[in-house]
């Protein structure tokens, strides 16, 4: 059965397939980063939107994913820092798993204590990760970073060209969305949702909120690792500065702007952060100022983000009609 929601999803997918056609490399490149950051932000959304905890470590998890993938896929070097020359298909799962495990290790103790201590621990973790990447140059190339990660070649489909890399990224994105969808609809996912709606009630219903929050955090971290694993072949250059604290902040704001707790909220948020400089070119240096101010205004007047704003506007337009229940649900899954 083709519900209205599925039609929208299909239309979105078709739009994503058509989007890069006839565009220059820059636009295609930007679309790639949008999809990649969307995945990282969707992972973060599990922690922020569903479990209500602030994490400032998403860029560190991206770093873990990116450096792991880079070191595994780079060809061995005669001198200096080299890799193992493995295929991306091998490197990616290892990267994701590494991010997941580190997520568990960081999250477990941090979530033992009440309050927003996860925010502090993850903040410290991100800066520590930066320092290690910068200082341990025998492994990470230090401040010069790592250059020249190969783009994956699937025999019949080499992703070296920008457009092909985009479709590769899109395929990963679609699989990722299906996986997330599955997670959210699983018993765990229902626990996430219960947590979001009312953590006290969830607890009284026998949900172990601490364990579920930890799981949400670790899965979110794995998503960050996946995003990192794609950044390495996209940019073909990584250095510690690209994963500094400010990027974690940026991703956090993506989730908030899009609409924390909405499945596709982060996609919209990432779109705003990555594509907005395009539309606000005339603002030059004022871009970040406008962005920050927008975030504040949005938080004050529409805490549900742009998706929530869309809902408010739609409800106003159709005041006479009853808003369809399934649409509400469709947006907030």
């Amino acid at each position: 059965m083709m519900t209205k929601r599925n039609m929208w999803l299909l239309a979105g997918l078709i739009a994503l397939i058509l989007a890069p056609l006839g565009q220059g490399n820059y636009v295609v490149y930007t679309l790639c980063s949008w999809l990649i950051f969307s995945m990282a932000a969707m992972g973060l959304n599990l922690t922020l939107g569903y479990a209500g905890q602030i994490s400032l470590a998403q860029s560190a998890f991206m770093a873990i994913g990116a450096y792991t993938t880079a070191l595994l896929t780079l060809p061995p070097a005669e001198d200096g820092v080299g890799g193992l020359g493995l295929h991306w298909l091998v490197a990616m799962p290892i990267s994701v798993f590494a991010a997941f495990v580190v997520g568990l290790i960081i999250g477990f103790p941090a979530l033992r204590v009440k309050g927003h201590f996860l925010a502090f621990v993850t903040l410290a973790f991100t800066t520590l990760t930066f320092l290690v990447l910068r200082n341990e140059d025998w492994l990470t190339g230090g401040t010069y970073g790592l250059v020249g990660m190969p783009r994956p070649d699937f025999g019949f489909f080499n992703t070296g060209k920008q457009l092909r890399f985009y479709y590769f990224t899109l395929a990963v994105f679609v699989v990722f969305c299906l996986l997330m969808w599955g997670i959210i609809r699983s018993p765990w996912g229902r626990a996430f949702k219960a947590l979001r709606e009312n953590s006290i009630r969830a607890e009284s219903l026998g949900v172990d909120t601490r364990r579920i929050t930890l799981l949400a955090f670790a899965i979110g971290s794995a998503a960050g690792g996946l995003a990192g694993s794609l950044v390495a072949p996209l940019v073909q250059f990584i250095e510690p500065g690209s994963f500094a604290l400010v990027h974690s902040l940026k991703m956090l704001l993506m989730v908030v702007v899009g609409g924390a707790g909405f499945f596709f909220g982060p996609v919209i948020g990432a779109g705003v952060v990555i594509l907005m400089p395009e539309f606000l070119r005339f603002t030059e240096g004022y871009y970040l100022m406008i962005y920050a101010a927008t975030v504040i205004v949005l938080i004050i007047f529409c805490p549900k983000g742009l998706i929530g704003l869309g809902e408010i506007i739609r409800n106003k337009l159709r005041k006479d009609k009853k808003v369809r229940g399934d649409m509400d649900k469709g947006a907030q899954l």
Partner: protein, 292 residues
Amino acid sequence: MEQFFQVLLSGLATGSIYALAAIGFTLIWQAAQTVNFAQGEFVMLPAFFLLAGMHFLGMPFWMALIFGLLLAVFVLGFLFKRVLVDPLLKHGGLSLIIATMALAILMKESVKEFYSAEAQPFPEIVPNGSWDISGVIVSLTDISHLFISAVIVIGLQLFLNRTRTGRCMQATAQNPGVAEILGVNVKRMVLYTFLINGVLAALASFLITPVYLAKFSNGEYLGLIAFIAAIVGGFNQIRGALAGGLLIGVLDNMTATYITAEYRQAVPLLLLIAVILFRPQGLLGTSEGREA
């Protein structure tokens, strides 16, 4: 040995300024149960108010100083509370914390665009001068930083403990529900807290900027350090924030001198993690101090 005392003194002097920022942090935490991620920028901004007073409005230094202080109290105390904190508090702490992160970006970018992206020299509040005490250079700046911070902290403690208004503020911070049923004007007390944070931020700003130079990005590291100092010392205690600030100041300098310069920044962060894991109420904090 001279080196040890030299570094100790420098660490204490810098740490005393961290402490001022950390105390503001603590006050805001108590009054609004929120973490102000823009605290570093709160310390960065007043210096620019002062500079603007001198260079755009042509004020003499002392007048610009008062102007900067008042403007800081108004903007960072009053406006911050009215425009950001009041409407957001009802959405819960999470929204407010994220809003302060956005505010930090907004403040930094505004200063950069409207004042300057480059560092600016800043007038010395304290005259230059130093004594050489058997190899240890004791500068007037270091001594006065320590002294002024101590005076501010003692003054604040006296105000909070010895005046009725101060005790009402403590009641509001420690148990807002009770303060309300006793007829304390809770809203006003919370406002006072924000105003005091404005004063502390401005004073920290005027003391540290001659050393750091006025730059839009000054708040990034300062905010982080104040934050760590407050948590390490204990979030519900002024003396905790004071001790945390001094400790971090000394530790930072000692690490850089004796252990590692590359991982200098890591030491406070590791301390932060250790404290959160093993003593979340902070080194001097009391865990049962407030009803969560």
